[in-house]
């Protein structure tokens, strides 16, 4: 007995001595709960039911402080000494970084924890742990800071109440923030404690945001920090453990406003559950509750090691009990997946469409919606769904599987009666089946797809490279949601061009058609091909979408490219020299103004704005009767134009800034001798028209007019006559389905030049081929003049079968006036050149060494050569060129432009 007392006394003295020694050498921990207050830099994340700025909602400054308090209490319970940089959450608590460092150093801290959580700052979401220490990764400025970080993240990573998207990351702040020039995190700079900053999770991952609202969740992180400190110092004397977990529904999907969720976070957390900690004899020890903030978190703290039972109860769920083993200095996680109590069979409590015979037919993409009294077994219920006639479709489940939505993949057939049946195999999440089948019917209307009226650019168009505009026109008003995702413009490498979203225009109720008109912010490269893709999902306000995805390829050009062989007749610099001769048809006035914003040459263009609905007479008719009325179009004239003359072997070209108003632009001529009597057919040929076509485009375009006679026939000027320019006409088509009330076009440099086309090149594509023959046939047989540029091959003033014969003669062996071929471009070249256009240097870059560059004009003539990777074009003429780049591996050619 005496011996026993003696032994006990020795043990007590030893224990006291250990405690004294431990107290003497216990570390001091400086705790910095990051941020402070509820200001703009305190990371407010808006989550239901809190409004933005509500201090009761989520703020990183709140959760950091909760974790800091928990860590402080845990460490003190273990015998550590501590300091905290703040114990409240006011703006004044947000201490300067240099102050925090000085306070830490002044406190004599051994280790320093700066407690934070992370955010992506971009729409993507993730959830993982990041720990940073000062210095490059692997070389901490203060020794062992990397070890402290590792000890912590290993303790945080075991948190199974969270859903992690990846494992932890540890880095030095110099490495992690490479753009900060090794300045690193302010709270670690000059800090002479072993120090680190923790981003414990991502507070903008919304399920995690809700968890961080929970005090127990934050406590567990603080507790895990303390375990990390124990690991760092090699302590294991504290005899307590903790258990926490997440309680979720075992099958109900979580409804979270389209927020991104991962793993088990896709199931509903169970709020307001009672969690009872019991010993193994079912005697309750402690009770806690999950809150009502959609996180399902519970925790029991400071437990003695041993086995326990945890029972979870919630009125709408079957209760569940699990056995856990608590270890000293460890966190135990025990999640629960509860099954709902579902005691009645499922039934349809609401549905759509509700339709009866005699009701108006429904649109061809009407979804079928069933709402149930229970959350349903999705697989069984989808199998119980039948629709006649059969149509392919997709199911979507909403409201935690209480609502099923069926949508046809494409569309139902038009004018068809459909019958939908849900048979008795449909069952709820508890396995009970429907007692009665459910049936509904509906009939579809005539309309199935969104119809396209027009798209600009058209397939194969040539579009001015600057300030381009794209437009989709449809038969009904477009759905204005997410259309930027459905209408995409890409360059040859597949890179999306940017839009000027602010100036995007869309159709509205009352407009004659639906449209979206998007200015392109990016400048394109002349000569390069671009692709406009409009997704099938582009739909109207009724949800009717396109029948298929539309892809238009077009080429960027410089409409203002210099035309050295042409003479400028009119620059349109002074609007005051123009007057409106007549405006008839609808009694409304037009205006002629100078425009200094949209111009190609000089300082101004001529802007013509005119009302064009209700319609005028048809253009050709109007011209035929111009002597009487001039009715049918606006006519503008100027002194300069009226004095200009052109020879019969010349042609007119005009720069037009279009607005896709479908009006026609023409220039009216009369021969200077005007020798034919008015009553004779020859009079018609003395009054030809240069027709620049329909304005079915946006932006600048360089157009060479087609000669047309008052009869409507396409022809040529008489090479033996001289003509004077009388006026510019603008008219519209009464039959046009596009009822645009106002149109605004702009004109810049009107040029005259010798007809430069290749003899026999009917369609003006630069060479003579069988395509020209086809163009002539289409014109003569069908009146299709779309490909007729120079149809009068033999120059007799008319297009006839004689012209076809003339082309055959050319093709059978006479001259071909094609320019010399340009250097060939090698596909898949690694060489890049730019800028395009350029005013001083064109630079070439490549994976390999560039030996030299050569510049050719478009006729294939060598203009300049340089032994480096650049070409000085500062003194070269504006225009298009070919740059040939020689590398050690390849020779490649590139279309470039010079513009000063």
């Amino acid at each position: 007995m005496k011996k026993t007392i003696y032994i006990i006394a020795i043990m007590m003295v030893a224990a006291m001595a250990t405690n004294v020694a431990r107290a003497q050498y216990m570390p001091h921990v400086y705790i910095n709960p990051g941020h402070g207050g509820h200001d703009s830099d305190d990371r407010n994340v808006v989550i239901y039911p809190f409004a933005q700025g509500d201090t009761a909602g989520y703020w990183e400054s709140n959760s950091n402080l909760k974790k800091g308090f928990a860590l402080n209490n845990c460490l003190r319970a273990k015998g550590y000494t501590t300091s905290m940089s703040r114990v409240s959450n006011q703006t004044s608590d947000d201490l300067a970084l240099s102050t925090i460092v000085a306070l830490c150093n002044s406190s004599g801290a051994d280790i320093f924890y700066s407690i934070h959580s992370n955010a992506t700052g971009v729409p993507a979401r993730r959830n993982h742990i990041l720990a940073l220490y000062r210095g490059p990764t692997g070389s901490p400025v203060v020794a062992n800071s990397d070890v402290l970080a590792l000890n912590l993240v290993q303790r945080l990573q075991v948190n199974e109440a969270a859903v992690w998207t990846s494992s932890y990351q540890i880095a030095g702040d110099f490495t992690f923030y490479p753009d900060w020039n090794n300045q690193g995190l302010g709270v670690l700079r000059g800090n002479n404690a072993v120090s680190m900053l923790s981003e414990g999770s991502f507070h903008d991952y919304i399920p995690e945001t809700y968890r961080l609202m929970n005090d127990n969740y934050c406590w567990m992180e603080g507790w895990n920090f303390s375990l990390g400190a124990d690991d760092y110092f090699g302590y294991s004397f504290f005899g307590k453990g903790a258990v926490a977990g997440n309680i979720r529904d075992n099958r109900m999907p979580r409804v979270l406003n389209n927020f991104i969720m991962f793993g088990d976070d896709n199931r509903e957390p169970v709020s307001n559950a009672t969690v009872i900690l019991m010993d193994m004899n079912d005697v309750p020890i402690d009770t806690c509750y999950t809150d009502d903030l959609y996180n399902g978190i519970y925790a029991f703290k400071m437990l003695n090691p041993g086995s326990y039972k945890i029972k979870v109860e919630q009125e709408h769920y079957y209760s569940q009990t699990k056995v856990v083993t608590i270890q000293a200095n460890h966190s135990t996680y025990c999640n629960f997946d509860l099954a709902r109590i579902r005691e009645t069979p499922p039934e349809v409590i609401n549905y759509s469409p509700v339709w009866s015979e005699g009701d108006a037919p429904l649109k061809a993409n009407t979804p079928v919606v069933f709402e149930f009294n229970w959350d349903m077994n999705t697989e069984a219920t989808e199998a119980a769904f039948h629709i006649e006639p059969a149509v392919e479709g997709n199911f979507r489940w909403e409201d935690s599987n209480y609502r099923m939505v069926f949508e046809p993949t494409d569309a139902y057939d038009v004018n068809t009666l459909y019958t939908v049946t849900l048979d008795t195999n449909a069952e709820h999440g508890g396995g009970m089946k429907m007692q009665e089948p459910f049936t509904l019917q509906f009939k579809t209307t005539y309309r199935k797809y969104l119809e396209v009226i027009d798209i600009f650019p058209h397939q194969g168009d040539k579009v001015h490279y600057k300030n381009a505009t794209i437009e989709l026109r449809t038969d009904s008003m477009l759905n204005n949601s997410y259309y930027y995702d459905k209408i995409v413009l890409t360059d040859k490498d597949g890179n999306a061009l940017t839009y000027n979203r602010r100036n995007t225009k869309t159709g509205k109720a009352g407009d004659p058609f639906g449209y979206i008109r998007i200015p392109v912010a990016s400048t394109m490269t002349p000569g390069e091909e671009y692709t406009l893709t409009i997704a099938k999902e582009m739909d109207d306000t009724a949800g009717i979408h396109l029948p298929e995805t539309i892809v238009h390829k077009f080429t960027a050009v410089d409409a203002g490219e210099e035309k050295p062989d042409a003479t400028v007749i009119e620059g349109f610099e002074d609007a005051s020299t123009f007057s409106m001769v007549a405006a008839t048809g609808n009694g409304q006035e037009g205006t002629v103004l100078s425009n200094s914003t949209d111009r190609l040459f000089g300082s101004k263009s001529l802007q013509i704005k005119y009302p064009c609905w209700p319609p005028f007479d048809k253009v050709v008719q109007a011209i035929a009767t111009r002597d009487n009325a001039l009715g049918g179009q606006y006519e503008f004239t100027s002194t300069a134009i009226s004095e200009a003359t052109i020879a019969g072997n010349e042609e007119l070209s005009l720069h037009i800034f279009g607005d896709m108003s479908y009006v026609d632009v023409m220039i009216y001529l009369s021969s200077t001798d005007n020798s034919s009597p008015k009553s004779t057919p020859s009079w018609v040929y003395d009054h030809p028209i240069f027709d620049f076509g329909k304005i079915d485009f946006h932006g600048w375009r360089y157009i060479t007019g087609k000669v047309r006679y008052l009869t409507g026939e396409v022809g040529n000027l008489n090479p033996n006559k001289t003509y004077k320019i009388e006026s510019i006409f603008i008219g519209n088509e009464p039959e046009s389905p596009i009822k645009i009330s106002n149109a605004t076009i702009k004109l810049d440099n009107l040029l005259k030049s010798q007809k430069s086309s290749v003899y026999g090149d009917v369609n003006g594509d630069g060479h003579v081929s069988s395509v020209d023959v086809t163009a002539l046939y289409n014109y003569l047989l069908n009146g299709d003049e779309s490909d007729i540029i120079n149809g009068d091959v033999d120059g007799d003033g008319h297009i006839s079968s004689v012209d076809i014969t003339a082309i055959y003669n050319i093709l059978l062996g006479t001259e071909n006036e094609m320019p010399a071929p340009a250097p060939e471009t090698k596909p898949n070249s690694s060489v890049k050149v730019g800028p395009v256009p350029s005013s001083d240097y064109i630079m070439a870059s490549a994976k390999g060494y560039i030996q030299g560059v050569e510049l050719y004009d478009m006729s294939g003539n060598l203009v300049a050569r340089n032994g480096g990777n650049y070409m000085n074009v500062g003194s070269m003429r504006d225009g298009h060129y070919i740059l040939k780049v020689y590398t050690t591996n390849e020779v490649s050619s590139h279309h470039v432009a010079v513009k000063h």
Binding site: A96, L103, A109, D110, N144, N182, N192
Partner: protein
């Protein structure tokens, strides 16, 4: 109401005071030599202590000869080095003990005449607070202390949220303003009649030797006495991770005048005063010395 009136009176005083401040010279130090941080001017302004961004090591620049002397290569040496009235340099180094992983701190003294450093306070665990007095200096460790003189005249140091004022060896502890996180950067004015310090969450506070608040100068940091009436301080802001602005201010110790010596965007910080000179550094360690003229 009373507070509002005081605020208005303060503003009026600020407007009426009419001080003009002119920077009369500006010189870059150690240009193209090395980045320098934690500058500390000697009382006569002829010598400058500095360190690197992490306060590793301690160097001394002789401003009359531009000669640089290495004082220490140890961790933490540069963070809070002080000049004693007798012209010696006192500093504290820190090291992590490999076995216990605790941080131990050692007090050292550098003698300019012998150009050697001696340990004056052996390595110990916990904080060491440096107490600077008008006649001597002390290093107050948690376990042991060192004093250069038994009577350090009027001296001051901070410990948590207390400022400790010793007058001829008798200590007085004051907590004149509330600050949970603590006090920092205490110093006695050149005439020995005022004390400036920083209270976390409050800013710079000026008190008399009895602990009575004379003025609260605003939420600025690192005060140093330019002369007995003016204080130079740092005004920095951050986003919780890194500095977003920092500038040097001249403040009148009675709170009636404030002047921006540098712009907020200059990222200038860590000011020190001595011999009517002001030295500060930048976020990337560019040292600048300026002289100013104040027309009261």
């Amino acid at each position: 109401m009373k507070r509002s009136l005081l605020l208005i009176m303060g503003l009026l005083a600020l407007i009426a005071s009419g001080q003009q401040v002119r920077v009369t010279s500006s010189t870059q130090l150690l240009r193209d030599v090395e980045p320098a941080f934690y500058p500390t001017l000697s009382p006569n302004g002829e010598l400058l202590l500095y360190s690197d961004a992490d306060a590793h090591g301690l160097k001394m620049l002789d401003l009359t000869t531009n000669k640089v002397t290495n004082i220490s290569f140890e961790n933490g040496a540069g963070f809070d080095a002080k000049w004693s009235p007798d012209g010696k340099v006192y500093y504290v180094t820190s090291m992590v003990d490999e076995k216990s992983r605790l941080v131990y701190r050692t007090g050292k003294c550098y003698d300019l005449s012998s150009q050697t450093s001696d340990v004056v306070l052996k390595a110990q665990h916990g904080a060491i607070h440096t107490e600077v007095g008008t006649q001597g200096i002390a290093l107050n460790g948690t376990k042991e202390k060192f004093s250069s003189k038994p009577n350090r005249g009027i001296s001051v140091y901070t410990e948590k949220s207390e400022i400790v004022v010793a007058i001829n060896g008798k200590e007085h502890r004051y907590s004149p303003v509330e600050s949970y996180a603590g006090y920092l950067w205490p110093s006695v004015s050149p005439a020995g009649d005022k004390i400036a310090f920083f209270a976390a969450g409050k800013g710079i506070v000026v008190i008399d030797l009895e602990g009575q608040v004379l003025a609260e100068l605003g939420n600025y940091e690192m005060p140093c006495w330019y002369n007995n009436d003016y204080i130079v301080a740092q005004n920095a802001s951050d986003d919780g991770y890194q500095f977003t602005s920092s500038q040097i201010l001249l403040l009148k110790a009675d709170g009636t005048f404030k002047h921006e010596l540098t712009a907020k965007t200059s990222m200038t910080m860590q000011p020190t005063c001595g011999g009517e000179k002001i030295v500060y550094t930048t976020i990337d360690g560019l040292l600048t010395m300026i002289t100013i003229e104040i027309n009261d």
